[in-house]
Each structure stands twice: as structure tokens, then as C-alpha cells.
């Protein structure tokens, strides 16, 4: 086990383990409260706990800011994260790729499902104007894009996907309170599987709290988080379609 792979938090010296915390406790401000905060951090396994700020929030609550030392060590070499393996292409490369290798337009259906009305993220990927200087999928000649907008029930989305024989279904989930998105997304995949439709589509998930990791767990093919650019999604879908449908180059549809 290589020492250099073991990392600790860094304040101003290697391995000093310094970290910052802030939290609120339901306790009246005072010396006891300060001690309670200290104990709280000690129980987290922290050392040299410094309660540097304590503020009365009234109604029996107190807010604390703490600096402390943690001896936690993470082994860099033991970290592995699932990543999207397709390579990122440009708007033009993608359209050519589809024209040359897939030889037909691709169809995608997207929606903000459940009660989620946050369309800006999905629109950033799908709308003409796009995001961060990149055109959205609607602008791609090789993509037929259906953007169903906000608060779309899972059933309605699936119905549409079937109707237009989509290659990929895109879902945006922004509201995550009380894991409402988990419930909603699980339900979506379950319906698909129940109806034996799961394998007909590439399932793409996105949102500020979405990771590829989480998407896979939920039974999606890919997940895109904050800062995603449309071309990244377009590249992914095109290459996946190719992978799935065209074994070693020979067309068999």
C-alpha cells in the first residue's frame, strides 16, 4: 500500500487533517451549548475541536461554526468511479457520425417528470439555443427531438416514446427533497420493465444532483450532472445507438 496514496485533509500543512463544520443544535446558547457542540464533534471522531462561533437562533436553537482535526485517511488508489465511456464529439462530428455510421436520424423524447417543473436544465440540452455555447439537440439535423416539458407523468412519457419509436428517452429531475426523484425514477423504470419495453430505449437521466453512478443504480444507461453540455449528451446517444444496433459495422436492422 503506497503511502503517497493515503490522503488526509489539508489546512496549511500536509496531513494536518484540518476541516471546517457548521451545524445547529436544539439547545439554548451558553457554555453548555458550546460544550455540547464540542462533544458532538468528538463523537464524530474529531480532535482538537475548536468551537469558533456560537450564535443564538432563538426558540432554543444555537448555530455553531467549528474547526477541528480529523484523522480520516482515504486511499486514492482504492477509488473507482463509473464514467461515461463514449468520447465527446462536436456538433458537426456528431451529425456526420450519425449520417455516416447509423445512416438514419435518431429520435429522442425528453421530459421533466412527476411534479418537477424545472425545465431550464432539460431545455438547456434540448432547445435550439442550447447551453454554454453549444446548440441543443433540436438544432441537430440528425436528431428528431420531442421535448414534453414539465410535470409529465411517467405513463405519458412512455406513451410518447412508443408512439414516435424513440431511440432514447431523456428525463430531468431537479427537485430531490425527501428523495421524491428516486421514487419517481424507480417507478418509471418499473413500468418500462413491466411492459417489456426497457431494452427498446437508451435511458438518459440528468439533473444537478444526478451522477452517472446514481443513474446506473436506478436502472438508467447514463446520468449527467451539473454543467452538462448538449453535445456531450448527443455524442453519448449516437455512439450508444451505434454500439447497440450495429455489431462490427454490418447493418442488421
Amino acid at each position: 500500500m503506497d503511502k503517497n496514496n493515503l490522503i488526509k485533509a489539508y489546512g496549511d500543512t500536509y496531513n494536518d487533517g484540518k476541516i471546517q463544520l457548521s451545524f445547529t443544535l436544539p439547545i439554548q446558547k451558553g457554555l453548555e451549548a458550546e460544550e455540547a457542540a464540542r462533544k458532538y464533534c468528538l463523537q464524530l471522531g474529531l480532535k482538537e475541536v475548536e468551537v469558533v462561533h456560537m450564535r443564538d437562533l432563538s426558540e432554543g436553537f444555537t448555530f455553531f461554526v467549528v474547526y477541528a482535526i480529523s484523522n480520516v485517511v482515504v486511499d486514492k488508489s482504492k477509488i473507482s468511479v463509473a464514467k461515461i465511456d463514449t468520447e465527446e464529439m462536436s456538433y458537426y462530428e456528431i451529425n456526420d457520425y450519425i449520417k455516416d455510421k447509423i445512416k438514419r436520424k435518431l429520435t429522442v423524447v425528453g421530459a421533466c417528470t412527476g411534479t418537477d417543473a424545472h425545465t431550464v436544465g432539460l431545455d438547456a440540452i434540448l432547445n435550439m439555443k442550447g447551453y454554454a455555447g453549444e446548440y441543443g439537440l433540436e438544432r441537430y439535423p440528425q436528431y428528431n427531438t420531442f421535448n414534453l416539458g414539465s410535470q409529465v407523468p411517467n405513463e405519458a412519457l412512455i406513451k410518447k416514446a412508443v408512439e414516435v419509436d424513440a431511440d432514447a428517452v431523456l428525463i430531468s429531475q431537479v427537485v430531490t427533497q425527501k428523495d421524491i426523484h428516486i421514487k419517481n425514477l424507480t417507478e418509471f423504470v418499473e413500468i418500462l420493465e413491466a411492459e417489456g419495453l426497457r431494452d427498446n430505449y437508451i435511458l438518459v437521466l440528468g439533473g444537478p444532483r444526478i451522477s452517472h453512478e446514481l443513474a446506473l443504480e436506478l436502472g438508467f444507461d447514463a446520468g449527467f450532472g451539473s454543467g452538462t453540455k448538449p453535445n456531450q449528451v448527443a455524442s453519448y446517444i449516437a455512439q450508444k445507438v451505434f454500439e447497440n444496433n450495429f455489431k462490427d459495422g454490418d447493418i442488421n436492422e
Binding site: S22, L57, S58, E59, T115, K178, S226
Partner: protein, 522 residues
């Protein structure tokens, strides 16, 4: 002292001429119609409350029965008033019996029209007394306990549980908040009724019910007396039950209501006619109840770019102003909305924010502007977020804003924690205090960037207002004039709730409030 910006008053007047034309057109399109929600509101104002055995609110039950038989075009007041006359029951008992199907309003003998109307008009007079009382009470309390200097610190609670909300609201008030808004549960705006009783579950917010209003009002009144500082209560007077919520708010002495002429159309895809009719009646009620309304132009900037679309915000404010004034709202009751949503990575973005804020401050000099915080460009960096909120607070005190919706350092992460709210209140108090009179001290350079920006936005505003007044507002909305959102004129939710009035249609409160508010036309 001379205003910071030298704005073209002729252009401003021109804008108001356009909006007047726009409003005429809208009124003409709606005056021959009523809606189920308006009629339910009449019942609520008369005192009908409660639910039937299926949990359906009695105002809905009663109105639906009449509508089912296409008799709502005469207005619920005739049928219900006639019912009272025939049965001699009190308002609530009659409603209960209708709910239990023990009485069918349409099967009772029918008194002569005028007699019923006179009778119900008297009842209406009676029933608005408590609202008058509330207005008095608010005025007295505000004299005794100051609501604090402007900009007022406005924070939200959104736990979904009214009792949890109360804890957090009290804490916020103690920490120095001047205004508490209870955010509604996400889906409520699309409910064509108002939920009943105290509620403890909701997503991203807490249901707006009369009982919840009462609980929060009492909690805050308690704090007011303890702290000697009047704390204003806000809720959402929007969605399919807009006018009913106005009535509930009037009865429970809410102080402010989010209440926009077009928000429902744009952001909740509610039918245009339905929305314009409902906003009109609900605003008459708010006007009478001395409620300050908050309009929702800020929302445009969550989907549109704050630099390019700045003029749409101003245009919408002009429209909300005109439509508002015509419902009897005083300028002092118009909390016109705008927001600090320009990308801070843009060089001199703060100057553009100052230009916008100062411009609307001068144009709507008598109205309490509602200034919304940065949200779109806040990211997970809570320290940067706190700084941006500080810049927002400074822009506000530099331009004499009125209602300061405090930004949260965790805006990009979760609905506010107790500590987030406390930090945002600390932030605003700190900036406001240390720069209290900065606005009196600074002037903007003539022909400088700020002045030029304001002129540009005002010009663009005049242009689209002209366009809108030519096309008509409904048509313009259908073409996506605001927030890049297109809505079909005939489409949208709640269209079925719009009912054409018969010539003997009567709404006692409409008549009464017009008199009380001495509204001339419309």
C-alpha cells in the same frame, strides 16, 4: 434631492398609455364572464366553510351542483341567497344541508330577483365587516409595533408541516425578519379548490389552508407582542383557487399576497380568461383587505436572460400596475416584482443591476417593489453564494427597494435550513445597517453606463408595450412575449370553469367592493 437617473418622463407616460389600452382590451374580454372560483369565493365571503363527507370543500360542492345544471350564469349569490330566504337557515347550515343533499337549491321556490339581490347584498355588507376590522387591527398594530424600516427583510418557510413552519417562522422573526412567507406545496396551484384544515405534509412547501393561515397568524401575533415589531405574513394568491385564497387571507389578516395577473398563465399553464377574471376579483378583495400584492416578473428571469429580457420585466410591471389600479389597489399596495439575476461573471453586471433597480424605483416611486435575490447563478459554493446575496442586499439599499426577499447561501442545494435563514438575515441587517444612507449620498454619472443602460431598457419596453397594445395581451402571450413561454389563447387548465354571465347575473361583493374602493369603470 435630484433622482439618480434622468429618465424620459414622456416615454414613461407613453408606456402607461399603452398599458391602459391593453387593460381596456382585457376588461372588455372578461367582463361578460365569471368563474367557478369567483362564485366559490362569494360563498366563502358569505361565510361558507368546511367540507362534505368526501372531504370536498362545501363552496365547491354548492357551486358544482348549480354549474352541473348550467345555472351558474346567474351567479351563485342568487341561488344561495334564495336558499337562505326560503329555508331561513344560517349560511353554514344551509351549505351543510346542500352538501348532505338534504337541500337542492334549484328545487326551492324562487324569490323575485331584486328581492334576493337586496337581501344578499345586505348579507354581504354584514360579512365584510370582519375584514374591515382586520384592516383597522393591522393599522393599530402597525402603529404600536413598527413593521421596521424598508427594505423589509422577507424570508420563506417551506417545511411542508405547518407546525414546523411555525417554529422556523418565529425563530426568523426573532432574528429580525420583517416578513414571513409560507411557501405552498408544489402542486397546489393546480388544485381547483382549497384544501381544508391544518396540514403537515407537502412538497417544497406547505398547503395554503385557512386553518394554516390562522395558526401562523396567531404564532406571529404572539412574536409581535414579544418583540414589539410587526411581522407581516404572506401567502400565495395564485393558481386555480386564486380569489378564494384572497378571501381567506382577508379573513385571517394576511398582510401580503403573491398575486400576479399573468403568472398562472405563464408558469402554470392556466387558461387566460380564467386567470384574468380570477385575478381581477381577487385583487379587489386584496385591495379592500389592505393587502400588498407581490407580482411575479422575477420568474421571467429564471427562464430568460436577465440582460436581454430586462425590458420584458418592466413591461410586465407596467401591465400589472395598470390592471392592479383598476381593481382598486392603491399604488402603495403594488409590490411589483423584479430580480437580481444577471450573470455575475459578466463584467460590470452589478452596474446593470443598479440601473434596473434604480429605474423601476423611480418609475414606480410610490409602490413597494419586491426585489428577488440571485438564484439562477448561485451554485454549491455557499461562500460565493453568501457574497452574492450581500451584493444583492447592497444594490437594494443603494436604490431604496422596499421588499427584500432574502437570498440563501444554499440556494442551489436545499430549501433553507434554520441556520441558512439566520445567516441571510444577518447578511441583510449587516449590509443595510452599514450602508443605511448610501442611497442619499451617491449620484450616477450623466450619460454613464448606468444611465445609458436604464434608457435602453426603457426604450425597449416602450417598443414591446406598443406591440402588445396593438396585438392585444392574450395574442402576445400566445406568441411567447414573456419568459419565452407560449400559451394558446383558448388552451390551459381551468378553462371549463369560465362561465358566461346571463343579464341577470349578480355578485354582491363585486358591487359592494366597487363602492367601497370607489372604482369607476370596469
Amino acid at each position: 434631492m435630484t433622482p439618480k437617473l434622468n429618465l424620459d418622463q414622456k416615454l414613461i407616460n407613453l408606456c402607461r398609455n399603452y398599458t391602459s389600452k391593453i387593460a381596456d382590451d382585457i376588461e372588455q374580454k372578461i367582463e361578460n364572464n365569471t368563474t367557478t372560483s369567483v362564485e366559490r369565493t362569494v360563498l366563502r365571503l358569505l361565510g361558507v366553510d368546511g367540507v362534505d363527507k368526501h372531504g370536498i370543500p362545501l363552496p365547491n360542492v354548492v357551486v358544482e351542483k348549480i354549474k352541473a345544471k348550467d345555472k351558474l350564469n346567474r351567479g351563485i349569490s342568487y341561488w344561495f341567497g334564495n336558499g337562505l330566504l326560503q329555508t331561513d337557515l344560517d349560511v353554514q347550515t344551509l351549505a351543510d344541508k346542500i352538501g348532505k343533499n338534504e337541500i337542492d337549491l334549484l328545487n326551492l321556490p324562487q324569490e323575485d330577483n331584486d328581492k334576493v339581490n337586496d337581501f344578499i347584498y345586505k348579507k354581504a355588507k354584514e360579512s365584510i365587516k370582519p375584514i374591515k376590522e382586520n384592516v383597522k387591527k393591522r393599522d393599530q398594530m402597525m402603529d404600536e409595533f413598527s413593521p421596521g424600516p424598508k427594505p423589509w427583510l422577507y424570508v420563506i418557510v417551506a417545511t411542508g408541516n405547518i407546525y414546523e413552519d411555525v417554529k422556523q417562522a418565529k425563530a426568523a422573526a426573532r432574528q429580525g425578519a420583517d416578513i414571513i412567507a409560507v411557501i405552498r406545496s408544489t402542486a397546489q396551484s393546480l388544485l381547483d379548490y382549497v384544501p381544508y384544515g391544518p396540514t403537515t405534509e407537502g412538497f417544497g412547501g406547505t398547503y395554503a389552508t385557512q386553518e394554516n393561515f390562522k395558526i401562523m397568524r396567531e404564532a406571529l401575533d404572539e412574536v409581535i407582542k414579544k418583540e414589539g415589531h410587526y411581522v407581516q405574513l404572506v401567502n400565495y394568491c395564485s393558481g386555480l383557487a386564486m380569489p378564494e385564497i384572497a378571501a381567506m387571507g382577508a379573513i385571517e389578516r394576511l398582510d401580503m399576497m403573491l398575486n400576479d395577473a399573468m403568472y398562472g398563465i405563464l408558469f402554470r399553464d392556466i387558461n387566460m380568461k380564467r386567470t384574468f377574471i380570477d385575478q381581477h376579483f381577487s385583487r379587489m378583495i386584496n385591495a379592500f383587505a389592505g393587502v400588498i400584492i407581490n407580482t411575479g416578473e422575477d420568474n421571467y428571469l429564471t427562464t430568460s436572460d436577465a440582460v436581454n429580457e430586462a425590458h420584458t420585466v418592466l413591461a410586465s410591471q407596467f401591465i400589472n400596475e395598470e390592471l392592479g389600479l383598476r381593481t382598486g389597489l392603491k399604488k402603495e399596495q403594488l409590490g411589483l416584482g423584479h430580480a437580481f439575476e444577471i450573470n455575475p461573471e459578466l463584467e460590470d453586471s452589478f452596474l446593470l443591476e443598479l440601473a434596473q433597480a434604480q429605474m423601476v424605483r423611480q418609475i414606480f416611486s410610490d409602490s413597494p417593489l419586491k426585489y428577488m435575490p440571485p438564484t439562477k447563478y448561485i451554485n454549491g459554493d455557499i461562500f460565493r453564494g453568501h457574497l452574492m446575496d450581500g451584493m444583492f442586499n447592497l444594490a437594494s439599499i443603494m436604490t431604496d427597494q422596499s421588499i427584500q426577499l432574502l437570498g440563501m447561501l444554499t440556494e442551489a442545494i436545499h430549501t433553507p435550513f434554520l441556520q441558512d435563514r439566520a445567516l441571510s438575515i444577518e447578511n441583510a441587517k449587516h449590509v443595510f445597517n452599514s450602508a443605511r444612507s448610501l442611497s442619499d449620498e451617491i449620484q450616477f454619472r450623466p450619460d454613464g453606463k448606468i444611465q445609458k443602460r436604464a434608457d435602453q431598457v426603457l426604450n425597449e419596453t416602450a417598443e414591446i408595450l406598443k406591440e402588445i397594445s396593438d396585438k392585444g395581451l392574450m395574442q402576445s402571450l400566445s406568441e411567447g412575449i414573456f419568459a419565452d413561454i407560449k400559451r394558446p389563447v383558448q388552451g390551459g387548465k381551468g378553462a371549463e370553469g369560465v362561465v358566461e354571465k346571463s343579464e341577470n347575473y349578480f355578485n354582491p361583493f363585486y358591487k359592494l367592493l366597487k363602492k367601497e374602493l370607489n372604482i369607476s369603470n370596469g
